[in-house]
């Protein structure tokens, strides 16, 4: 149960490390221009351009430079124009992102503690307290939040003048809100995350499941099995509402609570109206909402910008013939949607894990991925360190991530700066990265299912 010793020291050290990087390397870190860090959607340089255009009372979307939200423009735009002598160009924004990273880490920690509590509760119900003792050594909340803070990818994203820390914060906020059953917060996080980067729209499934069924727990069949054993009156007693023990069970296997979900939907509606209102005020004289939708969501869905990134779509759409383009756009986007339903059915008792799987899949198949997305799902992965303790290929994945993240800049250098390589060199690393992510998702899901199977075996034994 006890958290990791010196959690606050380590967290403070992570923050201090970021500040040190910010202060010590005024100019040499050109992370903002790296395709791995800043995508056309998240680049702060583009945001500054959009802000400038808007100040000149033009549409921020003119000239195909800026593709983000207008709210971000009024939120961060002011900070982009302030310069300090001898500091990086976006010093204040970077400071802001350090704070945002810290808040994200705190929210991940709180989520982890909620998950741990629910795990203990369900184990107690299932008479598996020995497992609790065994797994009590690692507190998933502390661990995950430290993984998030110390992940080099997070640090690079934070330093690299890209707005993905804000996107990540919104996603984590939605998950946290759903885990602690604060419908307004969950709705706020989900609406803003969707508004900022569109792909979190699929998180509505895990968020509703979390609000409806509650936190991650072993499959509900196990509880039924246990209660049927405990009551021992009838072999197939399906209504566990007699003894005192079964009352505890009743708390853990909730029926789907429609009230929470309706509450959530109401709040989603309210926040949606709010966001649209703010956006339309912000873009009143310049463009308007239709242009915003066209230039943000349209830009994401039609993959207009084919500049190289760590994904696989840019290469594919640079090659594909124009008349097949629409077809393949549909194929690629439906790819994500296809996975929603089967996964939701299989993992409905573990909605938080389901959210992780969705985020990992969408960051693999999205049109403009960056390392900020992997930073998010790797942080969330660490929330399930107890369940995934015997995951296969962990060493292979670790080596692979390190290898790809070192090889990718070198290949880019070879192609763009030295001119001796070509696009295939860089794309190869993108492909390897996609494979790694696939292996990660497949292995984590299969070891989670294996964990459930083990629990069933133990309960039945």
């Amino acid at each position: 149960m006890a958290g990791i010793r010196g959690y606050w020291t380590l967290a403070a050290a992570a923050i201090a490390f970021r500040l040190l990087l910010l202060l010590c390397f005024p100019k040499d870190l050109h992370l903002g221009s790296r395709p791995e860090v800043a995508t056309p959607l998240t680049s702060l340089r583009r945001l500054a351009e959009g802000y400038w255009l808007k100040q000149a009372s033009m549409s921020p979307y003119s000239g195909s430079m800026y593709h983000g939200s207008p709210l971000l423009l009024s939120f961060l735009g002011q900070l982009t124009i302030r310069r300090v002598e001898g500091r990086p160009p976006h010093f204040y924004c970077s400071l802001m992102f350090v704070v945002v990273d810290f808040i994200t880490a705190i929210l991940i920690r709180a989520t982890g503690q909620k998950l741990l509590l629910s795990r203990h509760k369900s184990f107690q119900v299932l008479n598996l307290s020995k497992l609790v003792e065994a797994s009590g050594t690692v507190n998933p909340g502390d661990f995950a939040s430290l993984v998030y803070l110390w992940n080099p990818l997070t640090i690079v994203t934070c330093m690299g003048s890209s707005t993905s820390p804000v996107d990540n914060l919104m996603v984590v906020m939605a998950i946290y809100g759903a885990c602690s059953r604060i419908a307004p917060l969950a709705a706020f996080g989900w609406v803003f995350a969707t508004h900022l980067s569109l792909y979190p729209i699929i998180l509505i499934v895990p968020v509703i499941l979390l609000l409806g069924y509650g936190l991650d727990a072993p499959p509900s069949k196990l509880f039924l099995h246990k209660t049927s054993d405990a009551s021992s009156s009838g072999a197939l007693n399906q209504s566990p509402d007699k003894s005192g023990a079964s009352k505890l069970t009743d708390n853990t296997i909730h029926t789907f609570s429609w009230v929470q979900v309706l509450h959530f939907v109401l709040w989603v509606f309210i926040w949606l109206c709010y966001v649209l209102l703010l956006s339309s005020i912000s873009l009143k004289d310049v463009g308007g909402l239709s242009e915003m939708f066209r230039k943000t969501y349209g830009f994401i869905l039609t993959v207009e910008d084919l500049s190289p990134n760590i994904g696989v779509l840019w290469y594919f759409f640079a090659e594909v013939f124009d008349f097949f383009r629409n077809f393949f756009l549909i194929v690629f986007h439906v790819n994500i949607l296809f996975m929603i339903l089967p996964l939701a059915i299989r993992l409905k008792h573990r909605s938080c894990f389901l959210a992780f799987v969705y985020i990992a899949i969408s960051s693999m198949l999205k049109s403009y991925p960056s390392v900020g997305d992997s930073a998010l799902y790797l942080g969330l992965l660490a929330l399930f360190c107890n369940e995934l303790a015997d995951m296969h290929f962990s060493f292979f994945l670790f080596c692979g991530y390190i290898g790809v993240s070192l090889l990718s800049p070198v290949m880019h250098n070879l192609w763009i700066w030295r001119g001796t390589g070509n696009a295939n060199f860089y794309f190869a690393t993108g492909l390897a990265y996609a494979c790694l992510q696939t292996v990660l998702v497949v292995e984590s899901v299969s070891s989670m299912l294996k964990h459930d199977r083990m629990l069933r075996k133990l309960v039945k034994a």
Binding site: A389, D390, S394, F395, F396, L414, T420
Partner: protein, 721 residues
């Protein structure tokens, strides 16, 4: 890495139906010793066979059309070259100031109707910037000009605007000369360059602008060319010129200079440009001591970090020199290897083998004579050596940093230059060669891209392409992930088996614990490896601190460097030493091998030659290393062999020793001293060679970890079982 997919748990008993790829991986992993021995031997043989597998070069880009037009360089131009040559020698002997020759060049350039300007530059000393490798070129602009204003060089630049071009592209000719003390051969190369320049100012076919840079090589050729290129590619705007701090002395000096130069016309200190560079030719005349039967041409192509110009550029030069001008073309080769007996023996064996195969099937073209093989190997070795060093072999290297293909042509005459007839014939050949090359490049429609960028030369007309030379390297590297997976899964299985023994029925909790520690135990080993790499990074940055102190002799600097590194290593051991003994040495070795293979494959992309040489040292070291205590338990004969192998490799694997041996093989053992290492390191980092980073970030930590494993205190669990 794909083979590492097998590092899951190949447990044949529990899971009979595993996927095919997993089973294949498990098969490889199970026979890892055999696989690694076979792969290493095959890799070494394939490496020795590279000269045999070399193909003849061919001009790949059709637009080049070398030698399709008759040369226009005539005896009239030769006369002009001779006249200019004599004028320079007259001025040079007077030795008034350093600017006399620049003035002479300027007058002549203006006379032929070309544009002229002078470029003044300050030489910069050796600075510590190995980390500039990844940063884009624009950053190098911020280099400090802390040298005094009095030290400067003066390049004279002439530009011919192409009558048929749009001014977007240019071809650059470079002739380095020493303005303080000009020799006969340098004067001749200036004369040759001027006669070509004046010819080009008259021709009608020019589609690209011609830039002639007479580089003042007082402070080294490279410095002059590099600073000119830097100013060419980074326009200096008036708004930020004040920030540089040299503005004041710059202005004063240039006015003073222009008074001295007294060239009529507009201001000659304004920097002029001529579009992107399609190619650059550095050429110079060198008088050699030994006499040959033909005039000869030596080509130098290696740029920084083992980059090579496009092969087509070398091809057209070779084609024109051999088939049109009848010159003898040479490229650098390692002299010591030419006489090596063992190489001759290998060559003869190959010759025999070739005859045998020809007997079997006449279609197999596998015949190579022994002499050809020896020469090819010596050339290949020098090619690999210069690429691995990462230091350019001439001022053409400066161009490659801006993605411009460039080579140095060194023309040497057959007879003495004093004989006027011989000199004229030589000038005619050289002039026609360079005119032909320029005419070919002039035909280009786009950048050089058709032919190879990644290749080794085994002769001026033979090359080994990337597809061929990657095979030995891949074979050498293949055992690493397999052995790593084998060690890893061996350890894993072991954990499972001991756990099965220990496990009491009903004790579920402990089994869960065991499982977790089994699956994630490598984290401990990874921590050790990470710490050692962190140490190596600190060590690689130490010279930056050291070079700030006023220590002068290289030996003191080297000793301080070594002492500091060892101190830091000891501190690391004291702080983190406790955790390093928890994990067995198998896991540590497995993680170390994974790190080494990642590093080597990364380096093979950055600078292949370094990775190849490094792999030949690291791979045996990584594969063979075992704790000495464990080796003591084996049989006497095996023990002796193992210990001797391990110790030899551990000594040879130490970067300074490896460098000493490499230097000894290439040059002489006598020359290498202790201070030489510091100088070599300085050479590497001041040329921002990635080899420095490789040696300190990959090779050194790997060696330290190997030593750590050799001296491992407690034997891993496997040996107890």
């Amino acid at each position: 890495m794909a083979a590492e997919a097998g590092d899951g748990k190949p447990q044949p008993g529990r899971r009979p139906r595993s996927r095919l790829i997993v089973r294949l991986g498990a098969l490889l992993v199970a026979h890892s010793v055999l696989v690694s021995v076979v792969c290493c031997i095959a890799g070494s043989i394939a490496f020795l066979l590279l000269p045999v597998l070399a193909k003849n070069t061919y001009v790949s880009e059709n637009a080049l059309m070398p030698g399709s037009a008759n040369p226009m360089f005539s005896s009239h131009d030769v006369v002009e070259a001779n006249r200019f040559f004599k004028e320079i020698l007259d001025r040079g002997s007077a030795k008034v100031t350093g600017t006399e020759i620049a003035k002479l060049i300027g007058q002549h350039v203006v006379d032929v109707g070309a544009e002229l300007y002078y470029h003044k530059f300050h030489p910069h000393g050796n600075q510590f910037h190995p980390l500039h490798f990844f940063s884009s070129i624009t950053n190098t602009m911020e280099m400090q000009y802390n040298s005094s204003c009095t030290l400067f060089g003066l390049n004279s630049v002439g530009i011919i605007r192409a009558p048929r071009g749009d001014g977007k592209e240019a071809i650059v000719l470079v002739t380095p000369y020493n303005s303080q003390n000009i020799g006969q051969s340098e004067a001749l190369s200036l004369g040759l360059a001027f006669s070509i320049f004046s010819l080009l100012s008259r021709v009608t076919w020019l589609a690209k602008d011609i830039v002639w840079l007479a580089a003042d090589s007082r402070y080294g050729e490279y410095t002059a060319v590099d600073s000119w290129l830097k100013d060419y590619h980074n326009p200096l705007f008036l708004s930020n010129s004040g920030k540089i701090g040299t503005g004041v002395c710059f202005e004063e000096n240039i006015l003073h200079l222009l008074d001295q130069l007294k060239v009529k016309g507009p201001r000659y200190n304004i920097f002029k440009r001529a579009g992107t560079m399609a190619a650059a030719l550095v050429f110079k005349v060198i008088e050699k001591k030994e006499k040959e039967e033909r005039d000869s041409l030596t080509i130098y192509a290696e740029a920084s970090n083992g980059q090579m110009p496009n092969l087509d550029l070398i091809n057209i030069v070779h084609y024109l020199a051999v088939h049109r001008q009848g010159l003898r073309v040479k490229i650098g080769s390692m002299q010591s290897l030419l006489k090596a007996a063992w190489l001759k023996f290998v060559g003869e064996m190959l010759q025999l083998f070739g005859k045998l195969t020809k007997h079997l099937n006449p279609k197999w073209k596998f015949d190579i004579t022994s002499a050809e093989y020896v020469e090819g190997t010596a050339t290949l070795a020098s090619s690999i050596y210069y690429q691995a060093l990462g230091v350019p072999t001439g001022s053409h290297g400066a161009f490659r940093d801006y993605q411009v293909d460039a080579i140095t042509l060194e023309l040497s005459p057959r007879f003495s230059l004093n004989n006027e007839n011989n000199r004229s014939a030589f000038l005619l050949r050289g002039g026609r060669l360079i005119e032909g090359v320029i005419r070919s490049v002039n035909n280009l429609l786009e950048k050089f891209h058709q032919s190879f960028f990644l290749y080794f030369l085994t002769a001026p007309h033979k090359f080994v392409s990337v597809g061929v030379y990657m095979i030995p390297f891949a074979l050498l590297l293949a055992p690493l992930p397999i052995v790593s997976a084998a060690l890893f899964s061996g350890n894993d299985n072991l954990g499972v088996s001991t756990e099965k023994v220990n496990q009491e029925p009903g004790c579920i909790g402990s089994s869960d614990m065991e499982l977790r520690s089994g699956s994630w135990k490598w984290l401990q080993a990874a921590k050790v490896v990470f710490m050692i790499h962190l140490w190596a990074i600190i060590v690689s940055l130490l010279p930056y601190v050291l070079s700030q102190f006023p220590l002068t002799t290289p030996i003191t600097l080297l000793l301080v460097w070594a002492a500091l590194s060892i101190c830091i290593l000891l501190i690391f051991y004291l702080i983190f030493g406790a955790c390093s003994t928890h994990c067995g040495w198998e896991l540590l070795k497995s993680v170390m091998i994974a790190a080494a293979s990642t590093g080597l494959s990364l380096m093979s992309v950055i600078n292949f030659s370094t990775a190849q040489i490094g792999a030949m040292l690291i791979v045996p070291m990584c594969l063979l290393v075992q704790p000495l205590r464990k080796q003591m338990q084996a049989g006497v004969c095996r023990k002796a062999v193992l210990v001797i192998c391990n110790l030899t490799i551990a000594v040879v694997g130490f970067p300074p020793v490896a460098l000493l041996i490499a230097k000894g093989v290439c040059e002489d053992f006598g020359k290498a001293g202790v201070g030489g290492f510091w100088e070599l390191a300085q050479l590497l980092w001041s040329w921002n060679s990635a080899t420095y980073l490789y040696l300190l970030w990959i090779h050194l930590p790997c060696w330290v970890l190997c030593l750590h494993i050799l001296l491992y205190p407690c034997i891993g669990r496997s040996s107890e079982a």
